[in-house]
């Protein structure tokens, strides 16, 4: 029996026409397609963003890759091994969405347990547990029972346990959800460090900005179908369509003088305005002008279409 003759080991993840139907309804079961012929290739060493609004089929895909559910049709490989092969799991790290761990264990005991499942020796388990818990920033609470952990702390433990086996591929399901801004920054830093070590990171998110700051490539999923994939910069629809400028201590007259150079003006408070600028006018000049007139710059943000806008648009086009 020859398995996957066309696939080379170059891919960390490869799916071919991966399809999943769930049956719904209590009396008369009928299939509902959760994932429709997904073909995807994730190269080794990439940070790959798997994007889509809630309910697009992201989690279904991850569950298929981890054999928590079984495909209706199609096939997939992880690190060159067929799905469910323990050899692949040995080299894989996984963070589930909203992770729950055994709340009667302490963070340290949890790491020890999973380290044992990876077949690590005692000294190796100790070393990695200490290093990883320190790295995700809960070194001080390592002996605390997990039932006393906040959502964000659990997320950090979840990331630490996903890295126990020094994996070649890490699959993270919504790693940013439930985290405060500080936590998001930490996780971003961690993902980039993993990339630098040569680890492939495959993460799902419904927030585009996560992907922008991290990913070399993305795939976008809507209603179970792949709608776009490739480099983020290649996706015209996702490019910046303008800027949002927030200024303070600005006289009303000055704003009125801007005229049509701002597409939209919103007065937030006394002397405080939010200005939307079109893509064509470079924001740098406007910032300089306003500053010269005594206004203070609060923030400058690029404006995107949201993922949802993007999907609505793509689905509306009938693709």
């Amino acid at each position: 029996m020859v398995a996957f003759p066309l696939v080379t080991v170059a891919f960390a993840i490869e799916t071919v026409d991966l399809t999943k139907d769930y049956s719904v309804g209590f009396w008369r079961k009928r299939p509902r397609r959760a994932l429709d012929r997904l073909s995807l290739q994730v190269e080794r060493g990439e940070v790959f963003g798997f994007l889509g609004p809630n309910g697009a089929g992201k989690t279904t895909t991850l569950k298929l890759l981890l054999q928590l559910v079984f495909p209706t049709a199609g096939r997939a490989q992880l690190l060159g091994c067929p799905l469910g092969d323990p050899a692949a799991k040995r080299r894989l790290g996984y963070l589930p969405e909203q992770p729950y761990f055994y709340d009667y264990l302490s963070a340290e005991e949890l790491m020890d347990y999973f380290g044992g499942l990876f077949g690590l020796g005692l000294s190796e388990r100790r070393r990695r547990t200490n290093a990883l818990l320190d790295e995700v920033g809960i070194g001080a609470e390592r002996r605390l029972q997990l039932r006393k952990f906040s959502k964000g702390m659990l997320q950090r433990v979840g990331i630490a346990q996903a890295l126990l086996n020094e994996p070649e591929l890490v699959i993270l399901d919504e790693p940013m959800s439930g985290l405060d801004p500080l936590g998001r920054r930490d996780v971003r830093g961690l993902i980039l460090r993993l990339r630098d070590r040569g680890c492939t990171v495959f993460f799902s998110s419904h927030v585009l900005s996560d992907a922008e700051t991290l990913c070399s490539k993305v795939a976008i999923l809507a209603k179970g179908c792949l709608v776009a994939s490739g480099r983020l910069s290649d996706m015209l629809a996702l490019q910046v369509r303008g800027w949002e400028l927030v200024v303070a201590d600005t006289p009303d007259a000055l704003v009125a003088a801007l005229g049509t150079r701002a597409t939209r003006v919103v007065r937030i408070g006394e002397g405080r305005f939010s200005l939307e600028l079109p893509l064509g006018a470079p924001p740098e000049r406007m910032v300089a002008e306003l500053a010269a007139a005594g206004a203070k710059l609060v923030s400058l943000t690029p404006l995107h279409e949201t993922l949802e806008d993007f999907f609505v648009q793509r689905v509306g086009e009938g693709t």
Binding site: M1, F4, F70, P71, T72, R75, P82, G84, D85
Partner: protein, 336 residues
């Protein structure tokens, strides 16, 4: 179930089952078949080669009430609870009846027509349930029959039920010669049926492990049934072979009652002699003491003073632990 769960498995174009983790259904079904065959084989071997000694009668078991079935593995414990209840019931009833008699209530033996308000009606059902739940409850048969045969007010005075209980025990444990001995005692002491008593003593003596004296007990019963000497022999034997404190106490009490009967006869002769000499029937002890016939107030073997009735009859005090004295068995003869 399995087929439905299996429905999701598809062969892919590459001909490979994607559920590579799960063992194939054929292997599972095959191993289940082999294991079931082994289980059945072991059951057959156990049932045929290694029978377990039965603790319940099969016929009884099948006709038992539904309530008993629910008890399944907790039957012995249920028996214990009923045994405790039976003892509690007997003890508390006896105390109530004693208290009532002290308070002056009429505590005559129940005549067939009128039943006393305070009775032992629940004693037999309690003992019956105890021994049904645990048919090997040795003590329940032996003590239970003693309680049942005891005449009112010390017991319900039902030797027939005592015999029924012991017969039930003999059915559950046919090797127990003690039950035959106990039935013999009930026939001897409570029913004064000496041929039956002797027959049961002999049946007990026939069983393996029975003591040698059971045979001589049967002979004595046939020869001298009802005589006090035979009774003394019976209870003396009982005292010696007593398995526990309660049985020993019961036997000791019987022997003391026999002593009391002897003493009452002696005292009566003394009273009658004084009456004949002085011409007046004494109704209290002091005149007899003054006359030098007695050194002090005579007491029974338990220390309770004997009483004298208005007609000069010596009697056991109703307050005595030995009260009531057994009805003196009629000597064995054609009258019984």
């Amino acid at each position: 179930m399995l087929s439905r769960l299996n429905g999701g498995t598809r062969k892919t174009s590459g001909g490979r089952d994607l559920r590579s983790t799960s063992v194939s259904s054929v292997v599972v079904l095959l191993s289940l078949t082999v294991l079931f065959a082994a289980a059945i084989g072991l059951q057959v071997v156990r049932d045929t080669r290694y029978p377990l000694p039965a603790t319940t009668e099969e016929s009884l078991y099948l006709t038992r009430q539904a309530a008993n079935r629910i008890a399944f593995s907790f039957r012995p414990l249920g028996a214990d609870l009923y045994w405790i209840r039976a003892i509690q019931y007997y003890g508390s009833r006896k105390r109530e009846i004693d208290a009532a008699s002290l308070a002056g209530a009429k505590t005559a033996a129940p005549s067939p027509g009128s039943r006393p308000a305070l009775n032992y009606d629940l004693l037999y059902p309690l003992l019956d349930i105890t021994t049904t739940l645990d048919p090997r409850f040795n003590i329940a048969y032996r003590f239970g029959s003693i309680f049942l045969a005891e005449p009112y007010p010390a017991g319900p005075g039902r030797p027939d039920l005592a015999i029924a209980l012991l017969e039930k025990g003999a059915q559950a444990m046919p090797g127990k010669w003690e039950y035959m001995e106990d039935i013999g005692f009930v026939y001897y002491w409570n029913l004064h049926n000496y041929p039956m008593a002797a027959a049961y003593f002999n049946r007990g003596a026939d069983l393996p492990g029975a003591p040698w004296w059971l045979r001589s007990l049967a002979a004595t019963t046939l020869a001298k049934g009802g005589q006090r000497s035979a009774s003394r022999l019976l209870w003396g034997q009982m005292l010696e072979s007593a398995a526990d404190e309660r049985a020993r106490e019961a036997a000791g009490r019987r022997l003391q009652q026999l002593d009391a009967l002897d003493q009452i006869e002696q005292l009566q002769r003394l009273v009658d002699a004084v009456a004949a000499r002085t011409g007046t029937v004494p109704t209290t002890w002091p005149p007899l003491i003054k006359a030098g016939a007695l050194r002090g107030t005579p007491v029974d073997p338990r220390g309770a003073p004997y009483e004298l009735s208005a007609s000069g009859q010596v009697k056991l005090s109703p307050q005595s632990p030995l009260f009531p004295l057994p009805v003196e068995p009629t000597p064995y003869g054609p009258t019984s």
